[in-house]
Protein backbone atom coordinates (compact mmCIF):
# COMPACT_ATOMS: atom_id res chain seq x y z
CA UNK A 1 0.00 0.00 0.00
CA UNK A 2 1.47 3.37 -0.98
CA UNK A 3 -1.37 5.63 0.11
CA UNK A 4 -4.49 5.19 2.18
CA UNK A 5 -7.18 7.70 1.23
CA UNK A 6 -9.86 8.31 3.84
CA UNK A 7 -12.95 10.44 3.38
CA UNK A 8 -13.68 12.50 6.52
CA UNK A 9 -16.28 14.75 4.90
CA UNK A 10 -18.11 14.75 1.58
CA UNK A 11 -21.12 16.98 2.14
CA UNK A 12 -21.40 20.15 0.10
CA UNK A 13 -22.10 23.71 1.11
CA UNK A 14 -22.87 23.36 4.82
CA UNK A 15 -22.54 20.68 7.53
CA UNK A 16 -25.69 18.61 7.69
CA UNK A 17 -25.93 16.57 10.87
CA UNK A 18 -29.10 14.66 11.69
CA UNK A 19 -30.92 11.40 11.31
CA UNK A 20 -31.30 11.75 7.53
CA UNK A 21 -27.56 11.92 6.82
CA UNK A 22 -26.15 9.29 9.13
CA UNK A 23 -25.15 6.85 6.44
CA UNK A 24 -23.21 9.14 4.08
CA UNK A 25 -22.35 11.81 6.61
CA UNK A 26 -22.96 15.48 7.14
CA UNK A 27 -19.41 16.82 7.44
CA UNK A 28 -18.12 19.06 4.67
CA UNK A 29 -15.15 18.27 2.45
CA UNK A 30 -12.05 16.71 3.94
CA UNK A 31 -9.80 13.93 2.66
CA UNK A 32 -6.82 12.35 4.38
CA UNK A 33 -3.92 10.80 2.50
CA UNK A 34 -1.75 8.63 4.73
CA UNK A 35 1.57 8.06 3.04
CA UNK A 36 3.82 5.05 3.23
CA UNK A 37 6.53 7.02 5.03
CA UNK A 38 4.10 8.08 7.76
CA UNK A 39 3.46 11.52 6.28
CA UNK A 40 -0.01 12.98 6.25
CA UNK A 41 -1.56 15.12 3.54
CA UNK A 42 -5.01 16.59 4.02
CA UNK A 43 -7.18 17.89 1.21
CA UNK A 44 -9.59 20.63 2.28
CA UNK A 45 -10.60 21.81 5.71
CA UNK A 46 -14.35 21.40 5.79
CA UNK A 47 -15.92 20.30 9.05
CA UNK A 48 -14.60 16.77 8.46
CA UNK A 49 -11.15 18.01 9.44
CA UNK A 50 -12.27 18.37 13.08
CA UNK A 51 -12.56 14.63 13.83
CA UNK A 52 -9.52 14.02 11.62
CA UNK A 53 -7.49 16.43 13.73
CA UNK A 54 -8.37 14.60 16.93
CA UNK A 55 -7.40 11.34 15.31
CA UNK A 56 -4.08 12.73 14.05
CA UNK A 57 -3.09 13.95 17.49
CA UNK A 58 -4.02 10.59 18.99
CA UNK A 59 -1.71 9.01 16.42
CA UNK A 60 1.09 11.37 17.38
CA UNK A 61 1.23 13.13 14.00
CA UNK A 62 3.32 16.29 14.21
CA UNK A 63 3.85 17.24 10.55
CA UNK A 64 0.90 17.92 8.26
CA UNK A 65 0.44 19.33 4.78
CA UNK A 66 -3.00 20.78 4.09
CA UNK A 67 -3.98 21.49 0.48
CA UNK A 68 -7.07 23.66 -0.04
CA UNK A 69 -8.99 23.59 -3.29
CA UNK A 70 -10.45 27.01 -2.52
CA UNK A 71 -11.56 29.14 0.37
CA UNK A 72 -15.32 28.84 0.32
CA UNK A 73 -16.41 28.23 3.89
CA UNK A 74 -17.41 24.60 3.41
CA UNK A 75 -13.75 23.89 2.57
CA UNK A 76 -12.25 26.06 5.30
CA UNK A 77 -14.64 26.20 8.25
CA UNK A 78 -13.10 23.23 10.05
CA UNK A 79 -9.59 24.68 10.15
CA UNK A 80 -10.33 26.77 13.24
CA UNK A 81 -11.30 23.58 15.07
CA UNK A 82 -8.43 21.45 13.75
CA UNK A 83 -6.83 20.19 16.97
CA UNK A 84 -3.25 20.09 15.59
CA UNK A 85 -3.46 23.83 15.04
CA UNK A 86 -3.72 24.27 18.79
CA UNK A 87 -0.71 22.10 19.58
CA UNK A 88 2.69 23.77 19.67
CA UNK A 89 4.43 20.53 18.69
CA UNK A 90 2.76 20.56 15.27
CA UNK A 91 4.08 22.02 12.03
CA UNK A 92 1.37 22.72 9.48
CA UNK A 93 1.95 23.79 5.90
CA UNK A 94 -1.16 25.18 4.27
CA UNK A 95 -1.35 25.30 0.49
CA UNK A 96 -4.10 27.05 -1.42
CA UNK A 97 -4.94 28.78 -4.67
CA UNK A 98 -3.37 32.15 -5.19
CA UNK A 99 -5.62 35.10 -5.80
CA UNK A 100 -5.11 38.10 -8.06
CA UNK A 101 -5.90 40.31 -5.09
CA UNK A 102 -4.77 38.98 -1.70
CA UNK A 103 -2.30 36.41 -0.47
CA UNK A 104 -3.48 33.09 0.94
CA UNK A 105 -2.55 34.01 4.50
CA UNK A 106 -4.51 37.26 4.44
CA UNK A 107 -7.58 35.57 3.00
CA UNK A 108 -7.53 32.70 5.47
CA UNK A 109 -6.92 34.98 8.44
CA UNK A 110 -10.23 36.68 7.77
CA UNK A 111 -11.81 33.53 9.18
CA UNK A 112 -9.70 33.93 12.31
CA UNK A 113 -10.83 37.41 13.24
CA UNK A 114 -13.87 39.07 14.80
CA UNK A 115 -16.74 38.92 14.30
CA UNK A 116 -16.26 35.46 12.77
CA UNK A 117 -13.96 34.00 15.44
CA UNK A 118 -12.90 35.08 18.93
CA UNK A 119 -9.25 34.00 18.84
CA UNK A 120 -6.67 35.83 16.77
CA UNK A 121 -4.39 33.81 14.54
CA UNK A 122 -1.39 35.23 16.45
CA UNK A 123 -2.43 33.01 19.33
CA UNK A 124 -2.30 29.80 17.33
CA UNK A 125 0.49 27.73 18.91
CA UNK A 126 1.31 25.44 15.97
CA UNK A 127 3.98 26.49 13.49
CA UNK A 128 1.97 27.37 10.39
CA UNK A 129 3.25 28.38 6.97
CA UNK A 130 1.12 29.41 4.02
CA UNK A 131 2.00 28.70 0.40
CA UNK A 132 0.35 29.31 -2.94
CA UNK A 133 -0.53 26.01 -4.59
CA UNK A 134 2.57 24.79 -6.40
CA UNK A 135 2.65 25.42 -10.14
CA UNK A 136 4.74 22.29 -10.61
CA UNK A 137 3.95 18.90 -9.10
CA UNK A 138 4.74 18.76 -5.38
CA UNK A 139 6.36 15.53 -4.25
CA UNK A 140 6.67 13.92 -0.85
CA UNK A 141 6.57 10.43 0.59
CA UNK A 142 6.32 8.75 -2.80
CA UNK A 143 3.43 10.77 -4.15
CA UNK A 144 3.13 13.84 -6.32
CA UNK A 145 0.31 16.35 -6.14
CA UNK A 146 -0.54 18.47 -9.15
CA UNK A 147 -2.84 21.47 -8.83
CA UNK A 148 -4.63 23.23 -11.65
CA UNK A 149 -7.33 25.87 -11.82
CA UNK A 150 -10.82 24.53 -12.51
CA UNK A 151 -14.21 26.04 -13.18
CA UNK A 152 -15.84 27.22 -9.96
CA UNK A 153 -16.54 30.76 -8.78
CA UNK A 154 -13.36 32.39 -7.46
CA UNK A 155 -9.84 30.98 -7.55
CA UNK A 156 -10.32 27.21 -7.25
CA UNK A 157 -8.07 24.29 -8.02
CA UNK A 158 -8.48 20.56 -8.34
CA UNK A 159 -5.77 18.08 -7.39
CA UNK A 160 -4.28 15.00 -8.97
CA UNK A 161 -2.36 12.62 -6.76
CA UNK A 162 0.02 10.18 -8.42
CA UNK A 163 1.75 7.34 -6.59
CA UNK A 164 3.59 6.09 -9.66
CA UNK A 165 1.29 3.07 -9.78
CA UNK A 166 -2.08 4.71 -9.35
CA UNK A 167 -3.72 8.10 -9.52
CA UNK A 168 -6.55 9.98 -7.89
CA UNK A 169 -8.25 13.14 -9.08
CA UNK A 170 -10.02 15.28 -6.51
CA UNK A 171 -12.43 17.86 -7.96
CA UNK A 172 -14.99 18.42 -5.22
CA UNK A 173 -16.34 21.73 -6.51
CA UNK A 174 -16.40 21.82 -10.26
CA UNK A 175 -18.81 22.85 -12.99
CA UNK A 176 -17.08 21.85 -16.23
CA UNK A 177 -20.37 21.98 -18.14
CA UNK A 178 -20.15 25.76 -18.06
CA UNK A 179 -17.40 25.60 -20.69
CA UNK A 180 -18.45 22.30 -22.24
CA UNK A 181 -17.54 18.70 -21.54
CA UNK A 182 -18.14 16.77 -24.73
CA UNK A 183 -17.37 17.63 -28.34
CA UNK A 184 -14.18 19.60 -27.86
CA UNK A 185 -10.51 18.72 -27.45
CA UNK A 186 -9.80 17.47 -23.93
CA UNK A 187 -7.27 20.25 -23.30
CA UNK A 188 -10.19 22.70 -23.43
CA UNK A 189 -12.22 20.82 -20.82
CA UNK A 190 -11.79 22.20 -17.32
CA UNK A 191 -10.13 19.65 -15.07
CA UNK A 192 -9.56 17.09 -17.81
CA UNK A 193 -5.77 17.07 -17.53
CA UNK A 194 -5.99 16.45 -13.81
CA UNK A 195 -8.50 13.64 -14.15
CA UNK A 196 -7.22 12.01 -17.33
CA UNK A 197 -7.07 8.25 -16.86
CA UNK A 198 -7.37 8.53 -13.08
CA UNK A 199 -7.97 5.29 -11.25
CA UNK A 200 -10.20 7.13 -8.84
CA UNK A 201 -12.12 10.33 -9.55
CA UNK A 202 -13.78 12.13 -6.65
CA UNK A 203 -16.03 14.60 -8.43
CA UNK A 204 -18.75 17.06 -7.63
CA UNK A 205 -22.19 15.55 -8.30
CA UNK A 206 -24.31 17.79 -6.13
CA UNK A 207 -27.50 17.85 -8.16
CA UNK A 208 -29.99 15.82 -10.08
CA UNK A 209 -30.37 17.16 -13.61
CA UNK A 210 -33.57 19.09 -12.86
CA UNK A 211 -32.02 20.68 -9.78
CA UNK A 212 -28.99 21.76 -11.77
CA UNK A 213 -31.15 23.50 -14.36
CA UNK A 214 -32.10 26.05 -11.71
CA UNK A 215 -28.54 26.45 -10.40
CA UNK A 216 -26.37 26.86 -13.48
CA UNK A 217 -23.33 28.96 -12.67
CA UNK A 218 -23.30 28.14 -8.97
CA UNK A 219 -20.15 26.11 -9.49
CA UNK A 220 -21.44 22.57 -9.08
CA UNK A 221 -22.30 19.65 -11.32
CA UNK A 222 -25.30 17.55 -12.04
CA UNK A 223 -24.93 13.81 -11.73
CA UNK A 224 -25.21 13.61 -15.53
CA UNK A 225 -22.32 16.04 -16.00
CA UNK A 226 -20.21 14.19 -13.46
CA UNK A 227 -20.74 10.96 -15.37
CA UNK A 228 -20.09 12.67 -18.72
CA UNK A 229 -16.88 14.22 -17.37
CA UNK A 230 -15.76 10.88 -16.02
CA UNK A 231 -16.27 9.29 -19.44
CA UNK A 232 -14.49 12.08 -21.32
CA UNK A 233 -11.41 11.85 -19.11
CA UNK A 234 -11.43 8.05 -19.02
CA UNK A 235 -11.54 7.75 -15.23
CA UNK A 236 -11.81 4.18 -14.00
CA UNK A 237 -13.99 4.75 -10.95
CA UNK A 238 -16.19 7.75 -10.27
CA UNK A 239 -16.97 8.64 -6.68
CA UNK A 240 -19.89 11.06 -6.37
CA UNK A 241 -18.85 13.86 -4.03
CA UNK A 242 -20.08 17.14 -2.49
CA UNK A 243 -23.55 15.95 -1.57
CA UNK A 244 -26.36 18.49 -1.64
CA UNK A 245 -27.32 19.40 1.98
CA UNK A 246 -31.01 18.83 1.22
CA UNK A 247 -30.38 15.28 0.03
CA UNK A 248 -31.11 12.62 2.63
CA UNK A 249 -29.38 9.25 2.57
CA UNK A 250 -32.27 7.76 0.59
CA UNK A 251 -32.21 10.64 -1.91
CA UNK A 252 -28.48 10.16 -2.37
CA UNK A 253 -29.07 6.52 -3.17
CA UNK A 254 -31.44 7.58 -5.94
CA UNK A 255 -28.67 9.86 -7.20
CA UNK A 256 -26.30 6.91 -7.24
CA UNK A 257 -28.88 4.85 -9.15
CA UNK A 258 -29.13 7.67 -11.68
CA UNK A 259 -25.36 7.80 -12.05
CA UNK A 260 -25.21 4.06 -12.68
CA UNK A 261 -28.04 4.30 -15.20
CA UNK A 262 -26.20 7.08 -17.06
CA UNK A 263 -22.87 5.33 -16.82
CA UNK A 264 -24.02 2.13 -18.50
CA UNK A 265 -22.69 -1.31 -17.78
CA UNK A 266 -19.06 -0.78 -18.77
CA UNK A 267 -16.45 -0.44 -16.11
CA UNK A 268 -16.76 0.17 -12.43
CA UNK A 269 -20.18 1.60 -11.42
CA UNK A 270 -20.16 5.06 -9.81
CA UNK A 271 -20.45 5.08 -6.04
CA UNK A 272 -21.45 7.64 -3.45
CA UNK A 273 -18.75 9.12 -1.27
CA UNK A 274 -19.35 8.28 2.37
CA UNK A 275 -17.68 9.45 5.55
CA UNK A 276 -15.26 6.82 6.71
CA UNK A 277 -14.79 5.38 3.22
CA UNK A 278 -11.23 4.18 2.66
CA UNK A 279 -9.36 3.50 -0.58
CA UNK A 280 -6.02 1.73 -0.59
CA UNK A 281 -3.89 2.95 -3.48
CA UNK A 282 -0.91 0.94 -4.72
Amino acid sequence: MAVRLTIWGCRGSVPTPGPNTIEYGGNTSCIELSLEDGGVVVLDAGSGIRPLGLDLLARGTRRIHLFLTHLHLDHLEGLRFFAPLWDERVTLDVWGPSSPVLGLRERILRAFSPPLFPVDFRDVPARVAFHDDPRKPWTSGGISITADLVLHPGPTVGFRIDTGKSSVAYLPDHEPALAGISGKPREWVSGAALAHGADLLLHDAQYFEDEYAARIGWGHSSVADAVAFSHVVGARHLVLFHHEPDHSDRTLERLEDRARELSGRDGSPPTLAREGMVFELP
Binding site: P100, P137, G142, V150, D162, T163, G164, R186, L194, H196
Partner: protein
Protein backbone atom coordinates in the same frame (compact mmCIF):
# COMPACT_ATOMS: atom_id res chain seq x y z
CA UNK B 1 10.57 10.17 -6.52
CA UNK B 2 8.02 9.21 -9.12
CA UNK B 3 8.80 7.54 -12.42
CA UNK B 4 9.02 10.12 -15.22
CA UNK B 5 6.04 8.64 -17.02
CA UNK B 6 3.77 9.54 -14.09
CA UNK B 7 4.73 13.20 -14.43
CA UNK B 8 4.56 13.08 -18.21
CA UNK B 9 1.03 11.77 -18.00
CA UNK B 10 -0.17 15.06 -16.59
CA UNK B 11 2.04 17.29 -18.72
CA UNK B 12 1.20 15.63 -22.01
CA UNK B 13 -2.47 16.40 -21.50
CA UNK B 14 -2.00 19.83 -20.00
CA UNK B 15 -5.15 21.84 -19.76
CA UNK B 16 -5.30 25.26 -21.35
CA UNK B 17 -5.15 27.92 -18.70
CA UNK B 18 -8.57 28.34 -17.13
CA UNK B 19 -8.61 32.00 -18.18
CA UNK B 20 -8.26 30.88 -21.81
CA UNK B 21 -11.00 28.29 -21.36
CA UNK B 22 -13.30 30.96 -19.97
CA UNK B 23 -12.29 33.40 -22.71
CA UNK B 24 -13.05 30.81 -25.35
CA UNK B 25 -16.43 30.09 -23.85
CA UNK B 26 -17.15 33.80 -23.65
CA UNK B 27 -16.06 34.33 -27.26
CA UNK B 28 -18.03 31.36 -28.52
CA UNK B 29 -21.20 33.08 -27.34
CA UNK B 30 -20.42 36.46 -28.90
CA UNK B 31 -21.69 37.76 -32.20
CA UNK B 32 -18.58 39.96 -32.36
CA UNK B 33 -15.62 38.40 -34.17
CA UNK B 34 -13.08 37.46 -31.52
CA UNK B 35 -9.82 35.55 -31.47
CA UNK B 36 -7.70 34.24 -28.64
CA UNK B 37 -3.96 33.57 -28.56
CA UNK B 38 -1.95 32.01 -25.76
CA UNK B 39 1.06 33.55 -24.03
CA UNK B 40 3.45 32.09 -26.62
CA UNK B 41 1.62 33.82 -29.45
CA UNK B 42 -0.19 30.78 -30.70
CA UNK B 43 -3.66 31.40 -32.05
CA UNK B 44 -5.74 28.90 -30.11
CA UNK B 45 -9.28 29.88 -31.03
CA UNK B 46 -11.50 32.20 -33.02
CA UNK B 47 -15.26 32.23 -32.91
CA UNK B 48 -17.91 31.69 -35.55
CA UNK B 49 -18.39 35.41 -36.02
CA UNK B 50 -14.68 35.71 -36.84
CA UNK B 51 -14.99 32.83 -39.28
CA UNK B 52 -17.51 34.90 -41.22
CA UNK B 53 -15.07 37.83 -41.44
CA UNK B 54 -12.00 35.77 -42.11
CA UNK B 55 -13.58 33.38 -44.55
CA UNK B 56 -12.12 30.32 -42.93
CA UNK B 57 -13.47 28.00 -40.26
CA UNK B 58 -11.32 27.51 -37.17
CA UNK B 59 -11.85 23.78 -37.37
CA UNK B 60 -10.15 23.85 -40.78
CA UNK B 61 -7.42 26.30 -39.85
CA UNK B 62 -6.55 24.85 -36.46
CA UNK B 63 -4.03 26.33 -34.07
CA UNK B 64 -1.17 28.28 -35.62
CA UNK B 65 1.31 31.03 -34.91
CA UNK B 66 -0.42 34.39 -34.62
CA UNK B 67 1.93 36.10 -37.10
CA UNK B 68 1.42 33.36 -39.64
CA UNK B 69 -2.29 33.82 -39.32
CA UNK B 70 -2.38 37.63 -39.49
CA UNK B 71 0.09 37.73 -42.38
CA UNK B 72 -2.25 35.60 -44.43
CA UNK B 73 -4.68 38.52 -44.48
CA UNK B 74 -2.12 41.08 -45.64
CA UNK B 75 -3.13 43.81 -43.19
CA UNK B 76 -2.49 47.29 -44.58
CA UNK B 77 -3.47 50.88 -44.02
CA UNK B 78 -6.15 52.62 -46.05
CA UNK B 79 -3.25 53.86 -48.23
CA UNK B 80 -2.31 50.25 -48.94
CA UNK B 81 0.86 50.44 -46.85
CA UNK B 82 1.56 47.02 -45.29
CA UNK B 83 1.41 47.02 -41.50
CA UNK B 84 4.42 45.26 -40.02
CA UNK B 85 3.73 42.50 -37.54
CA UNK B 86 5.02 44.46 -34.55
CA UNK B 87 2.52 47.27 -35.18
CA UNK B 88 -0.54 45.06 -35.35
CA UNK B 89 -2.75 45.27 -32.22
CA UNK B 90 -2.56 41.56 -31.45
CA UNK B 91 1.24 41.61 -31.62
CA UNK B 92 1.40 44.74 -29.43
CA UNK B 93 -0.87 43.08 -26.86
CA UNK B 94 1.35 40.01 -26.98
CA UNK B 95 4.78 41.65 -26.96
CA UNK B 96 4.14 44.73 -24.88
CA UNK B 97 1.28 43.29 -22.82
CA UNK B 98 -0.88 46.36 -23.27
CA UNK B 99 -4.10 47.15 -25.07
CA UNK B 100 -3.96 48.40 -28.66
CA UNK B 101 -6.46 49.44 -31.29
CA UNK B 102 -6.16 50.01 -35.02
CA UNK B 103 -8.24 50.28 -38.17
CA UNK B 104 -6.90 48.52 -41.27
CA UNK B 105 -7.72 46.73 -44.48
CA UNK B 106 -7.46 42.99 -44.91
CA UNK B 107 -7.99 40.50 -47.66
CA UNK B 108 -9.63 37.52 -46.10
CA UNK B 109 -9.21 33.92 -47.10
CA UNK B 110 -12.26 34.09 -49.37
CA UNK B 111 -10.56 36.89 -51.35
CA UNK B 112 -12.85 39.67 -50.19
CA UNK B 113 -11.30 42.97 -49.10
CA UNK B 114 -12.60 44.24 -45.81
CA UNK B 115 -12.02 47.18 -43.55
CA UNK B 116 -11.80 46.17 -39.92
CA UNK B 117 -10.99 47.77 -36.61
CA UNK B 118 -9.12 45.58 -34.20
CA UNK B 119 -8.90 45.93 -30.43
CA UNK B 120 -6.48 43.63 -28.66
CA UNK B 121 -5.77 43.35 -24.96
CA UNK B 122 -3.66 41.12 -22.73
CA UNK B 123 -5.04 38.58 -20.26
CA UNK B 124 -3.42 38.38 -16.85
CA UNK B 125 -4.42 35.64 -14.42
CA UNK B 126 -2.24 37.38 -11.84
CA UNK B 127 -0.28 40.59 -12.04
CA UNK B 128 2.79 38.57 -13.02
CA UNK B 129 1.05 35.81 -14.95
CA UNK B 130 0.37 36.69 -18.57
CA UNK B 131 -1.67 33.94 -20.17
CA UNK B 132 -2.61 35.28 -23.60
CA UNK B 133 -4.53 37.90 -25.51
CA UNK B 134 -7.97 38.56 -26.88
CA UNK B 135 -8.43 40.40 -30.17
CA UNK B 136 -11.81 41.73 -31.24
CA UNK B 137 -12.69 42.69 -34.80
CA UNK B 138 -15.15 45.54 -35.19
CA UNK B 139 -16.71 45.42 -38.60
CA UNK B 140 -17.38 48.68 -40.37
Amino acid sequence: MLPPQAMAEVDSHRQKHLVLILAREFASNLATPTLIADARGRLVYYNEAAEAVLGRRFAEAGEMELDEWTASFAPRTSDAVPIPAQRRPARIALDEQRAAHQRYQVTSADGIEREVEVTAFPLFAHADEFVGIVAIFWRS
